[in-house]
Amino acid sequence: MLIFLLVPFSAVAHGDWQWDFSGFASLGAGRINQPDVTFFGTDTAWSVDSDTMLGLQWMVMPTDRWQLTAQVVARGFNFEDDKQYQPKVEWLFLSYQWSPGLRTRLGRLRTPHYLFSESVEVGYSYPWARPPVQVYAALMTQFTHFDGVDLSVVGTWGESEWEVQWFGGQMNGSFLDTEVDIDVLLGNNYIWRYRDWLLRYSLHLDRTTLTNPRAQALIDAFSQFAALDPAFGRIGDSLTPQREWKQFHALGLQWESGNWAVIGEYFISLGPKRGFSTDLQGWYLSLQHRFGRVTPYGVIGAFENTIKSSLIDPIRDLQPTQFGAPEAVTEQLVQLQALGLLAFNSVNTKEESATLGLRFDVYPGVALKTEIQYFDFKENTGNLIPKDYFTKPSSAVAYTVILDLVF
């Protein structure tokens, strides 16, 4: 590793073929102050797994226009415990440069939701210890890549530059006990650069199927009462996962001038009106100022996940006693309604946070960061996962120290 630090970003030519081998790594340690929640695998004991990773990238260019890129990443934290530090192919694509401003890529690509999506695991490339979780949480372990194709066009207009990217493909992953299958993913990104400013807008349309065993148990429970009243069948049917379209919008703004920088992003994801579906939105605003090699920064942000009212309202509006069923059956209906509301309410979440951190650029290619992040849970526990649904703190503080490097 030390040898790599002395020869950063190595590039070697082999005959007419050019190839590059490079990599990135993070060694982090973190803990939180609350015993009742976990934060990316971190709890009250210091852990080095949550923010530790190693990535290796290989690029080969047989001609000026063709390029093959592969990137493999091994992460210390994964929501599936048995896959810690297991190498995973994040990039594997073939690229063709049609003209100076037109390029196509085909293969496994990064999901391009946000400003730092495509380098989300390269800690050295951004100021914070980790990208603000109010926006980047889903990308940090699960939905990091898709398989498909993209087309990028780059141009200028006066003193400004613009870039448009169209992409399409498919993606799947899981988060805790929810399987996410996106069989059609379409989108485009627009980037505009002018002097110190960068503005980015992203639009995705995903045909999504969400499968969750808890939701399936509810579907089955409601469906079995369909004979009593069609309302139960309709509830079960509305929860049944099917391929439904989901919309995603994200706006990013970056201003960097001299030693000052401001970065902000906002996203909203609108789920379909059926299936186990939610609406998500989040934002953050970051301010930093560089003093030589030291950059203190502050971030504020918020995140919200809300079950569609079209799904929960029919359950809430049920009147178990109106069906004239025997008492034992009515009792079951009351419990089922309560269970349904409990399950859905556990998904609703709202959090706000504030972060203070410090980045020290030890050497070009090496940065040391330390960060304190305060979470205020307005509803449930936001991006932190409770160990027990019935024991939820109202706030938490996460501490992180991380060394990022590129080579």
Binding site: F9, A11, Q18, D20, S22, F24, G55, Q57, M59, M61, T63, D64, R65, T69, Q71, W91, F93, S95, Q97, S99, P100, G101, R103, R105, L109, R110, F116, E118, S119, E121, V122, Y124, S125, Y126, V154, T156, E159, E161, E163, R193, R195, D196, E256, S257, R290, R293, D361, P364, G365, V406
Partner: protein
Amino acid sequence: MANRMKVESCPQQLKHLLGRWFLCSWLLLLGGLCWGQESRALVVVVHPENPLNELALLQVRQIFLGRLRLFPNTGHGLEVTDQPHDTAIFRLFYRQTVGMDVDRLSRYRARYIFSGQGRLPARMSDSEAVKLHISNTREAIGYLYADEVDERVKVVFDVPHEEAVSP
């Protein structure tokens, strides 16, 4: 006593004068070197037979920040070269073209390299190595001090002296 004092103070005064003269000379020399380095004009150069004759500042920025992967207008292959990161010419070039210092540039390059956007410039050991490489590689582009240009390279852009606004 007074005469001895006069005789002793004279060499001492001379020593002081000489000392000040040397100090001032060195300061002027160093200052001149520094000032000279900072004020030396920079140029962007390509192979003499490269069909490209001129670049705009925005195109220079795009090329050296990896946002253009082929030569503009001609569509020929593009290989960007860099000088060592700890040299004055490297710092000056990126300050005057893209408005970035070493740390910020390093962070920017990490972002685009590991997002699969392109590759880093090939690092040369010094200006002579830049000229040698460009003279042997038609796709190459690099930067030099204007007074280092010779027949092995062709100038396509004169870097403005004022500090650039970051892109």
